[in-house]
Amino acid sequence: MNVWLVTASVLLVAGFVPVVWGVATGPLGRGVAAQNLGTSVVCLAILLLSQGYDRPSYVDVALVVAVLGPVGTLVYARLLADELQDDPPHTRLFTVSVVCVTVPVVVALCLAGGPGRAAAKLVLVGVLLVVGNVIASRALTGGFSRSEVTR
């Protein structure tokens, strides 16, 4: 059990237990925001696991999380727009914490791996994750102002 795996465990416990709690209880808007946070936590955890197990190919899993996770949140934001409009969730705290955790994790992983295309791939995953999280948060707080209403 090396330092990467310990960090991944801490991240999962500290980050994902609140996500499960938030998604199962409370208003719907908070649930979608918690799901958005959960995607980022899982992506970072898998990046750390990939380094901890010394399996570079696991980065592909994190890449798919970073690409599809925000898409999933946008699906909820789009199709539950009516429900979310009444009670938009507070997402700023989540977004700020995701950025504050993603940057050091990605930088540490890049330093551990050394420069090269592998580091570029890690940076790509980090950028996709942060941009996706910010956009998805924005979508939850009124990005879809009106859902399709059939005439």
């Binding site: 199962a24 979608v32 197990y53 592909d60 996770g69």
Partner: protein, 86 residues
Amino acid sequence: MTDVLVLISLLLVAGSATAVVAVRDPARQALVLAVLGLTLTVLFTVLQAPDVALSQLAVGSALTPLLILLSVRKVRRPGRCEGGDR
């Protein structure tokens, strides 16, 4: 020591799976199901099965929620003759 990670992910899976069953509203169930999918992805990765993790991720993160929410929308929005526009 790596068993600690297996234990954490198993507990997370158990917790979110229980939540899926306990929640009653279909839209929220889709949400909890997506989170269950995320915990399963972690579990499969920890158990060194990235292929299964990718399958779970591909299906569970965007496709299943989209299918469920579209069905919910169709069921909740009856024809014009019955309930009118929502």
